[in-house]
């Protein structure tokens, strides 16, 4: 398919996604609120930018990053790569899976989780808003880095879980308990933002690559089901950012207090 055709197709599917929203917005604007939009043309131009931008973005991902990322995920989880000499002529010499042998998988999961979350458009949007609303006390970049670190840690732990075959519920329940404990201690202002970041991370860029990694890993390890273990990674990627964002706020408050050497109110 030529670039132009592909672009047309992506633009159409983005449009289909946007039309219901546009109808709701226009309907309420015209019939319920009955007010003129300030800078209507500017807003309309903004909508066109968002549409075109999203279509270009998705198409570029499909073209450049997803295919290569998926091939890399499959290659990295391949026993022939992981075990090298122990895996000859397509027959495994090893008998049991050792989690230590999967070092590169954890490293890749960490790196790709971090990098893709930093480029996630919805997170960019939330970061911009948070910086504006907090009057700069929370920097957009700092928030995004905190969320990305959370995803990175969560995803590599998720890969460790698939390799060892431990129970998903154990991890999720422990993570929820930690979230509750942190909620009691963290600065109040950060809590809604932290909860929101959990939902934002699993979006356009991150999910396809994580799914490829999870499926590749589950398919090459005997006894793992791609159905059950594949989705587990996404659950990890949405719980850990909540912890890392609250942690980020706790650390910056601690640093602030240390600098001022007074136990006053936090800066957030």
């Amino acid at each position: 398919m030529s670039h132009l055709e592909l672009f047309q197709e992506t633009l159409q599917s983005t449009l289909r996604d946007v039309i219901p929203i546009a109808l709701v917005l226009i309907g309420f604007q015209m019939f319920v609120l009955r007010q003129k939009i300030a800078h209507a043309w500017r807003v309309l131009r903004g909508f066109v930018y968002v549409l075109l931008g999203l279509a270009l973005f998705l198409m570029g991902l499909e073209e450049a990053i997803f295919p290569l990322g998926e091939v890399m995920a499959t290659q990295l989880t391949n026993p022939a790569f992981l075990y090298g000499d122990l895996y000859k002529d397509g027959v495994a010499v090893i008998e049991t899976i050792r989690w230590q042998d999967y070092g590169w998988v954890y490293a890749f999961a960490f790196a790709i989780g971090l990098a893709t979350t930093l480029a996630e458009p919805s997170l960019i949007a939330v970061g911009m808003k948070a910086q504006q609303v907090s009057g700069g006390a929370i920097s957009a970049w700092g928030l995004r880095l905190a969320v990305s670190l959370g995803v990175a840690i969560g995803v590599s732990l998720g890969c460790f879980r698939i390799v060892t075959g431990t129970d998903l519920w154990l991890y999720i329940v422990v993570a929820y308990v930690l979230v509750i404990l942190q909620t009691m201690r963290a600065p109040k202002m950060i809590i809604p933002l932290a909860y929101d970041s959990g939902g934002v991370t699993t979006s356009t860029v991150t999910v396809p690559l994580l799914a490829a990694l999870g499926l590749g890993l589950a398919a090459t390890i005997p006894g793992r089901s791609p159905l059950i273990d594949g989705f587990g990674l996404i659950a990890f990627a949405s719980v850990f950012p909540i912890m890392s964002v609250m942690g980020y706020a706790q650390i910056s408050r601690w640093l602030e207090n240390k600098k001022k050497n007074t136990g006053g109110e936090d800066a957030l």
């Binding site: 219901p20 109808l23 903004g46 930018y49 931008g53 991902l61 990295l76 960019i124 808003k129 939902g199």
Partner: protein, 245 residues
């Protein structure tokens, strides 16, 4: 000064380049040094990366001049009008409308129906599979609509968010025991699928706009949290769907 004025339109482009750099570095590092393989289709890669860069820059500029101001001005207008019914209806339609046509959701629902047919939960006729998929899609769209309504109600009433969300987690964990195995994976996935790239900025602007125009509400404390509802409720609704069918 002059130079700065000239550089202004390119700022989103520079920022997009900065945002994408980590992905390029990670891919290069693992491909060249760990897997020790050349990059296939170098030309395609470069063109694709250029599109991603341009797309991201356009998207961010569009947010600044389009989605954010619109979401906020509508929130102010609703607050001024003071009619709760219209506001809640708007919230519901915004959540429902953005989810029901979401391509990722359509894909997930179709896959879920196939799994259910294989597992013998439903008959494996085309008709049964399609109606299961449609039912699932409607369930998720309804749940997101309800989530935004609840979230807006929370902003109006000033309920503390963490009680709502932690309470919701308990419900999720409890329901996981009762829900059939086939649906659990889909339920957990559906939480992530619903928050699309266009919904997030609009819903965030709505929440922040409402919280800053209602007296006694703090935009940091009350404005955020709508997305948290929108990723929690679908899990609960989808598991309910699995239990009922």
């Amino acid at each position: 000064m002059n130079l700065r004025y000239l550089a202004q339109p390119f700022r989103p482009l520079f920022e997009a380049a900065r945002d994408l750099m980590p992905i390029i570095l990670v891919i290069l590092f693992f491909q060249e040094l760990v897997l020790k393989q050349p990059i296939p289709n170098m030309e395609e890669m470069l063109i694709g990366m250029l599109m991603v860069l341009l797309g991201l820059a356009l998207f961010v500029r569009g947010l600044e001049i389009g989605l954010f101001p619109l979401g906020e001005s509508m929130a102010f207008a609703f607050a001024k009008k003071g009619n709760v019914f219209w506001l809640l209806l708007f919230a519901f339609l915004l959540g429902f409308g953005t989810t029901v046509a979401e391509p990722a959701l359509i894909a997930v629902a179709g896959k879920a129906a196939e799994i259910a047919a294989q597992g013998g939960v439903i008959e494996s006729t085309q008709e049964a599979v399609e109606s299961y998929a449609d039912g699932l899609r409607m369930t998720v769209a309804l749940s997101v609509g309800t989530a935004i309504v609840l979230g807006v109600l929370r902003i109006l009433k000033g309920w503390p968010l963490h009680f709502c969300i932690i309470g919701g987690y308990f419900v999720v964990v409890a329901m996981t025991y009762f829900a059939p195995d086939e649906i659990i994976g889909i339920a957990y996935d559906s939480g992530g699928v619903t928050t699309s790239t266009i919904t997030v900025p609009l819903v965030t602007a709505l929440g922040v706009g409402l919280a800053s125009s209602i007296r006694g509400r703090n935009p940091m404390l009350d404005g955020f949290g709508l997305i948290a509802f929108a990723s929690l409720l679908p899990m609960i609704f989808v598991m309910l769907y699995g239990i009922m069918i």
